[in-house]
């Protein structure tokens, strides 16, 4: 009787260890799968975010806040005002937004304001403060000027650049 008891106790022990090992195996496999799927999820989220930013930037030049009224044309006078308006910080779902004069200006970056708008090179609408990738498109940058009391639009070549957050 004692012998039988010992034998069954041993069997139960064996089974318990087996079950423990099995559960441990499934837990490890599960954790491995979850980490794999989480990295896939992050990658997919990042792709969708990038896609959203790229499609948005290509259309941003025609938005009422920036457009001068013609296709892919940005109103410089609006930019000077928009720079200081905090309301737009969260409106466009991109990490940063700046507009650069491309030609005929030197490569050095001079931030624009109402005092130096004709000599500066970059308008920062939204500061880029994270690791980002800049996507952009070429645009015309136009502003109102007067000569001999005649109002006309003076246009230059520029580039609109939107920041896209890169998830590590």
């Amino acid at each position: 009787m004692r012998k039988i008891n010992k034998k069954s106790q041993l069997k139960i022990q064996e089974m318990s260890f087996m079950l423990l090992a099995l559960i441990l195996f499934f837990v490890i496999a599960g954790l491995f799968y979850i980490s794999l799927s989480a990295s896939g999820l992050k990658k997919q989220a990042s792709i969708l975010q990038q896609e959203q930013a790229i499609t948005l930037i290509s259309k941003l030049a025609n938005s009422p806040e920036l457009s001068c009224g013609k296709s892919l044309c940005i109103d410089v006078d609006k930019l000077l005002v928009l720079k200081d308006r905090k309301a737009y910080q969260g409106f466009w779902d991109i990490e940063g937004l700046r507009i650069m004069k491309v030609y005929p200006y030197p490569t050095q970056e001079i931030e624009c304001n109402a005092g130096n708008y004709d000599k500066c090179t970059v308008f920062t609408i939204k500061e880029l403060n994270q690791s980002y990738l800049e996507e952009g498109t070429f645009v015309s940058l136009c502003r109102k000027e007067t000569k001999d009391k005649i109002v006309y639009d003076k246009c230059e070549i520029g580039k609109i650049l939107g920041g896209i957050k890169i998830r590590q």
């Binding site: 069954s8 069997k11 139960i12 089974m15 079950l19 099995l22 559960i23 599960g30 999820l41 997919q44 989220a45 969708l48 896609e51 959203q52 499609t55 948005l56 290509s58 259309k59 025609n62 938005s63 009422p64 806040e65 457009s67 001068c68 009224g69 013609k70 296709s71 109103d75 006078d77 609006k78 000077l80 005002v81 928009l82 308006r85 309301a87 737009y88 910080q89 969260g90 409106f91 466009w92 779902d93 109402a114 109102k144 000027e145 007067t146 009391k149 109002v151």
Partner: protein
């Protein structure tokens, strides 16, 4: 007799195996169900994000209207829309959300929707729940003197416009795939949403009444009301499409969001006018921009839209006549 006393003798190892086996099986089934739920949630959230991304290129930009290809799904889907007048990320302009779910192949049951995807810079006019295999999109610009933004309308249903004015007929016909034109409500497809212009009938799902009889009105339907069930929504200009396609709560929410956008743009144009004045380009609409900003930032409902629209129209006339135009206007 002896047999009866002992009864059925089950070894302890069996009992242990049955209990442990049941627990393992239960855990396995539970884990699988949870896994499927999480996968579905993830898939639906991704679909909602893809719909959001699809909305970026569909704005008409400088065109008068834009109608992209509809999205067709393999099975019945639900796209759920909501609107908030304010939001943490963009307190002034609010936000809209999209979530998505589809009908399960097993048991024809609707799955729980995925996560909400927020949109801050679009104005989506749709019912709270759009159900079907096809999702149609359309976009028209909205002006209050200057362009405020694009109105994007989304629907899973076909619409039948009964006796619309020629301006709307021209804008709609052949452009928006889910809008048909008819000269009588009886000629509409029975499954279509029937939009009756200028008359009411028991077959009409909603009625549009134009009330623009002013000298400056281009046609009677430039401003008016859309009466849907027991709700009355006032509209001006292209907001007509918003009122037709949207749930009244989403419509009113977007009216307030557009009001804030108008106010911000008015401030931008006002400050631009002050800037260009220093360069000899003097504007006559600064005061109009100021009052438009004030009245649009305090808009309470669509009831106030007429006043805003006519004030903007007066300002637009002055801007068009001026040598120094502050904004390009509708005709560009």
């Amino acid at each position: 007799m002896k047999k009866q006393k002992t009864g059925f003798d089950m070894p302890f190892s069996w009992i242990f195996a049955i209990i442990a086996g049941s627990i393992i099986l239960f855990l396995a089934i539970f884990a699988t169900t949870q896994f499927i739920e999480v996968s579905k949630y993830r898939e639906y959230t991704e679909t909602a994000a893809q719909i959001r991304n699809y909305l970026n290129p569909i704005v008409p930009g400088l065109a008068s209207a834009f109608n992209p290809a509809p999205i067709r799904f393999n099975q019945e889907t639900r796209t759920i829309f909501d609107c908030y007048e304010t939001s943490r990320k963009s307190p002034l302009f609010g936000r809209q959300t999209i979530s998505f779910s589809e009908k399960s192949n097993i048991g024809n049951k609707w799955s729980d929707p995925g996560g909400n995807i927020s949109i801050y810079n679009k104005y989506l006019f749709a019912n709270k729940l759009e159900q079907g295999k096809t999702l149609y999109f359309g976009s028209v610009p909205f002006y209050l003197g200057f362009k405020v933004d694009d109105i994007i309308f989304i629907s899973s249903r076909q619409y039948c416009f009964v006796t619309p004015p020629s301006r709307i007929e021209d804008q709609v016909e052949g452009i928006f795939l889910n809008i048909n034109i008819s000269n009588s409500v009886q000629n509409c497809n029975s499954r279509d949403v029937k939009v009756c212009f200028g008359f009411d009938d028991s077959l009409c799902n909603m009625t549009v009444y134009g009330n623009c009889y002013d000298v400056g009105c281009e046609n009677q339907y430039e401003t008016g009301q859309v009466i849907k069930k027991l709700n009355t929504m006032n509209y001006a200009g292209n907001l007509l499409y918003g009122a037709i396609f949207a749930d009244p709560r989403i419509y009113e929410c977007n009216i307030k969001r557009l009001g804030q956008k108008t106010a911000e743009l008015s401030f931008i144009y006002k400050e631009k006018a002050e800037l260009v004045q220093q360069r000899g380009c003097s504007s006559v609409i600064k005061e109009d921009l100021n009052s438009l900003a004030l009245s649009s930032s305090t808009i309470q409902s669509s009831l106030d839209i007429d006043n805003l629209y006519f004030a903007a129209k007066q300002m637009d006339i002055k801007n068009k006549e001026a040598e120094c135009r502050i904004y390009p206007g509708e005709s560009y």
